[in-house]
Amino acid sequence: MSDVADRVKKIVVEHLGVEEDKVTENASFIDDLGADSLDTVELVMAFEEEFGIEIPDDAAETIQTFGDAVKFITEAS
């Protein structure tokens, strides 16, 4: 697993308090990992801070799964 994926997973596990093995490629933050809409905003804020990138609101809305997040951040950073 890439370095980006590891770091994203760490943030998701910490923030949502879920088991690491639940955070799979297609795991949806809201449907599978129990996030509410405010959690997703906070995850995006945490990603921005961790990776030193800016994720605009319209892009943030497309980040629904763990895989989406890894893909977006890999391309952006």
Partner: protein
């Protein structure tokens, strides 16, 4: 009690009677204050009076770009932003059937839309900090209505709905959002009234007098404090019993 040492507060309309008193009170409790308003001179004078821990942050609240930039400027000046007090407001009184679009819009823009923009602007830093206090200064008129003030009353009622919705969304993040609704408060504006006019007003107030800016500031201080952490989405009416809501 009510120690704000280490906290920072942005107060809009700090050049006015109530806003200035709010800033002084928060400052006296230990907070660093950002004084915002359109008129720079009274802000500078207030900052000079307060001495340390006071920053002048002029902003024209009818300029949406300037409003969006204000929270960032406040954080640059003070290092963080813990408390937002939306106190600035204008009136453009007119009998409703004659009220122009411009009279309506200007009041809604300054009183309600700028409040929304500033609340939105402070969300991110407050969410990160897991602590925040939003205090919106509404008015008794927002709850009771007032002839000649359809625009003002609508904006002040709107602030209450806005405050409650924000309170719902961010309560789990340690952020509270409340409103303070002053009744008649003695300021430079009410000094202009004749004794006869004042008597007419006082008759409607069970406390038989107008309120003092300090009495609004005390309500704001409470809502800004750690002690008020379980109070959110409420409207604190400070009106001498004029409307018991």
């Amino acid at each position: 009690m009510f120690d704000l040492t280490g906290k920072t507060a942005l107060v809009t309309g700090a050049s006015g009677g109530i806003g200035g008193e709010i800033a002084k009170t928060l400052h006296a409790a230990g907070a660093t204050v950002g004084l915002s308003g359109t008129r720079v001179e009274p802000l500078e004078a207030l900052a000079a009076e307060l001495g340390e821990r006071a920053h002048v942050l002029p902003c024209n609240l009818s300029d949406s770009e300037a409003v969006d930039a204000l929270p960032k400027q406040a954080i640059e000046a003070m290092g963080r932003l813990d408390i937002l007090v939306n106190n600035a407001g204008i009136t453009r009184d007119q009998i409703f059937m004659r009220m122009s679009d411009e009279e309506w819009q200007s009041v809604l823009d300054v009183n309600l839309t700028s409040t929304m923009r500033l609340c939105r602007g402070v969300m991110r830093p407050m969410m990160k900090a897991r602590w925040g206090r939003i205090i919106n200064i509404s008015s008794i008129v927002g709850a009771t209505g007032n002839p000649g003030q359809a625009n003002y009353a609508a904006s002040k009622a709107g602030m209450v709905g806005l405050t409650k919705s924000i309170a719902y969304e961010v309560a789990s993040r340690g952020i509270t959002a409340n409103a303070v609704a002053p009744g008649f408060i003695a300021t430079a504006m009410t000094d202009k009234l004749t004794d006869e006019q004042k008597d007419k007003i006082n008759v409607q107030i069970p406390a038989a007098r107008m309120g003092a800016p300090e009495e609004i500031a005390a309500a704001v201080l409470y809502l800004a404090s750690n002690e008020a952490g379980y109070v959110t989405g409420s409207t604190l009416h400070v009106n001498g019993g004029m409307a018991m809501l």
